[in-house]
Subunit: 476 residues, 2 copies
């Protein structure tokens, strides 16, 4: 074997063993020469071999970087939920997830929807908050106006422009997180007993709104690459008295897909044809890996039937509880519902976010986060392929920081999670994302924060636990 | 006339003309001697005369102070609402009040429920907020646990002890303002179409919750000194399928009364007998002028049927939106409702309030505010007696910073307010406090902040406008 082949093989082995991770820069040619005592031309040739084998890529003036593994991952299957309206259950599992105080938690939370809060590009937000709290006039401590701070609504209008939405500040209501926006939207549109069509799997926060307000969920089959099935939805609209359609079409939680633009447009047209409102959850939309960010359903809405809901909880920080909605033709009812639910939202966080956006920090932060999350996605998929049993389905997120796994067998992830919690780990079981506890063999992971050895070890441990459970399952 | 009688008369005239106001310290004996060129004994005798006439009182080692006018004020009448369940209206008027951004407002708001935000004893809160935002670890930006920060819940338990309530931190849920607590409580207890018994007049925020959730309000006659009529309530409980009783029994908004303890106890017993839940709004309770503060209904509740709702919006600042509830036996449902409504409440404001309370700033602030609000109450009642037509009914608040006026004739306060807004003034029309627009001839005033000449001039102007309207009313 030629010397450069030996060097290339050594590098490939290190990548395989995880010494260099997806997205990492490999040692420079000069460093490699020093380390292995080879000539510059040998090192260069070794890198060319590595590149040819698809393990690394050269980036001009920067060096060689580890590529995601060429092994094609298996996507989760298209969901096939029960095609009839159901009462939502699963509150106990959700409660377990949300009742915890993160700072007191000694568990490694592998699945909760929390962004990276340690990002350097967030720092201006913290100092703005401190300054505002020290220097703000009394009005910062007073009730804000009910629709929310005009400064912030102006900035939201400017941002919405990037998703193809032409809004006016009067179209926007500030809410206490996206959860309040979704809750106001659904309570504005429905009465107890009404049927709401949802994508499937679907965000558990919305599912629990349906439960609390005695609404029925009609789960529609959903493709992990293109989203809710328009064909199935059309059939459902013909068959059931659906009051609203609730979807997360961009950087979906939990599946990570973004519906193609043509399908988004068709979805709005379908809602028009059947005269149904759409509640669009866009909370991860600004974290899309593509530039410019994908359009919202709202951007295709010409008669005000889309209630767009979003927040700065995933793009900035969740603890400020700054969300917003553009409720279209339902503005008056939504404003009333907002008043009775929490009154005006807190004043100072709105002013801080408005400043952060206005001074360009938001877009800078998004660029950093999108780069980081895209890299982390590749690393985590790589780890899943390494550490989970073959046949495990893995989503391929187009944005955001959530990964969805479908295990190759009847592993009960609620029980798996109970076992893991005894060992200091926590995953989000898939059954939370269904009205009736489907997706028990699925789970959600989070790759937002630093991909530390602890996270890798935790994930490996989960993979091994899954493998052990699958083995038990095989009849002797 | 004796010289000391002349001096006493001169002082009485100055008080009458408003040169010295209720609660003001009059000039010292020495100063009076200098000013009027009289002897010490003459000045002393003049003050004794003034005291005898009930215009001033001597306070040991301090001097003479102006007393409230002995003129007995007329109390508002016991309310006689329609004794059948009603749909709530009046949203437009409420919206006008709450949609305004206080800082942009050029109106002199004489009636909104906002505490004095300029109080010096609030300053530690602002610096704590600033410090927290600068130095807090990432968890301050993260989702809090769903029930809220344990630090704050511990402090709330300590405070609740003073109102006779023995609570455990697990009994307390942090909410986004008292409005959310009330909304969660009512949504936990009812379904659309249900009947809720309320005091009358009743806080418009609660009335609008009933409206938004299609509940019916059964307004119960209410005495401006002792609160909701237990006799009328008992009849109503026999006659109607009442799901919940909603009252503000301590420092009532808008009437200012505190129900006597025995009546509070009887109210809880009545609820037990008819197996109905009580939603108790205690948001002004800590601002009672009596020490120790009055007991809550919750303190008499031995089977968990009272859902106690409160907040730091009136005692500290409203813009932080820190509220709480002790939902008794309904905790699980209330926690679920909390999750679907807004998720966890904002983290840092909770930590700041917890620190403020823990370090004793809260109780110090309360002492200051109670002293200030009691003094302001007397001044404002004095102004009303001066500037409003004879026969105007005036409440006599036992705490808080709100005054209720009943005008002596069919003045429409909604129209009065429209007129006043054109002149830079704003009052809160009484009709907001009724399901069906009763109390149109009543209005609410706020005496929290500095009683400036501008406030006095504004109030005088309102009084004159009322007099003019009453004159028009008289047939020619």
């Amino acid at each position: 074997m030629k010397r450069y082949d030996q060097v290339a093989q050594a590098l490939a082995q290190r990548i395989e063993q995880g010494q260099y991770r997806v997205g990492d820069r490999l040692p420079s040619v000069r460093a490699l020469c020093r380390e292995l005592g080879v000539s510059v031309s040998t090192a260069q040739e070794a890198y060319r071999r590595l590149e040819a084998s698809g393990l690394a890529e050269a980036r001009p003036r920067s060096g060689y970087y580890v590529l995601p593994r060429p092994t094609p991952s298996v996507l989760p299957k298209v969901s096939r939920p029960a095609q009839r309206p159901l009462d939502v259950s699963q509150w106990d599992q959700v409660l377990e997830l949300v009742a915890r105080a993160p700072e007191e938690d000694r568990l490694l939370m592998l699945g909760r929807g929390i962004p990276d809060l340690a990002a350097a590009s967030l720092r201006p937000l913290q100092s703005q908050l401190a300054t505002l709290h020290r220097h703000v006039a009394a009005h910062g401590l007073n009730y804000d106006s009910l629709p929310g701070s005009l400064e912030l609504r102006r900035q939201i209008v400017r941002l919405a422009d990037k998703s193809g939405c032409l809004l006016h500040p009067d179209d926007v209501l500030i809410t206490t997180g996206c959860q309040e926006a979704l809750s106001l939207a659904l309570r504005t549109l429905t009465e107890p007993g009404d049927v709401v069509a949802v994508d499937s799997p679907s965000f558990y926060g919305t599912m629990q709104i349906l439960k609390a307000h005695k609404l029925k969920a009609l789960e529609i089959p959903t493709d992990p690459r293109t989203g809710i099935s328009l064909e199935a939805l059309e059939l459902a609209l013909e068959q059931w008295p659906i009051k609203a359609i609730q979807v997360t079409p961009t950087c979906n939680n939990p599946l990570g897909y973004t519906m193609p633009e043509a399908r988004k447009q068709a979805l709005v047209a379908l809602a028009q044809r059947f005269d149904v409102a759409i509640v669009e959850d866009d909370i991860y939309g600004d974290l899309a890996f593509d530039t410019p960010r994908p359009r919202t359903l709202k951007s295709f809405d010409d008669d005000g039937r889309v209630l767009l809901c979003s927040a700065f909880s995933k793009t900035l920080v969740p603890g400020l509880r700054v969300g917003w909605m553009a409720p279209g033709r339902y503005r008056d009812q939504a404003l009333h519902m907002k008043y009775v639910s929490t009154g005006a939202s807190a004043t100072l966080p709105q002013l801080a976010v408005a400043e952060f956006v206005q001074h360009g920090h938001y877009e800078r932060h998004l660029r950093e986060m999108v780069r980081q999350y895209r890299r982390h996605r590749d690393i985590m998929i790589d780890w899943v392929l390494r550490y989970f049993p073959p046949g495990t389905g893995v989503s391929y997120p187009q944005g955001g920081f959530l990964l969805w796994l479908e295990l190759p067998g009847a592993v009960d992830c609620v029980r798996l999670n109970e076992q893991l919690m005894g060992e200091g780990l926590h995953i989000t079981p898939g059954s939370l994302f269904s009205a009736s506890g489907k997706f028990r063999h699925c789970l959600r992971l989070n790759y937002a924060a630093a991909m530390t050895p602890a996270v890798e070890a935790g994930l490996r441990h989960v993979g091994e636990a899954v493998a052990a459970l699958l083995e038990q399952e095989v009849p002797a």
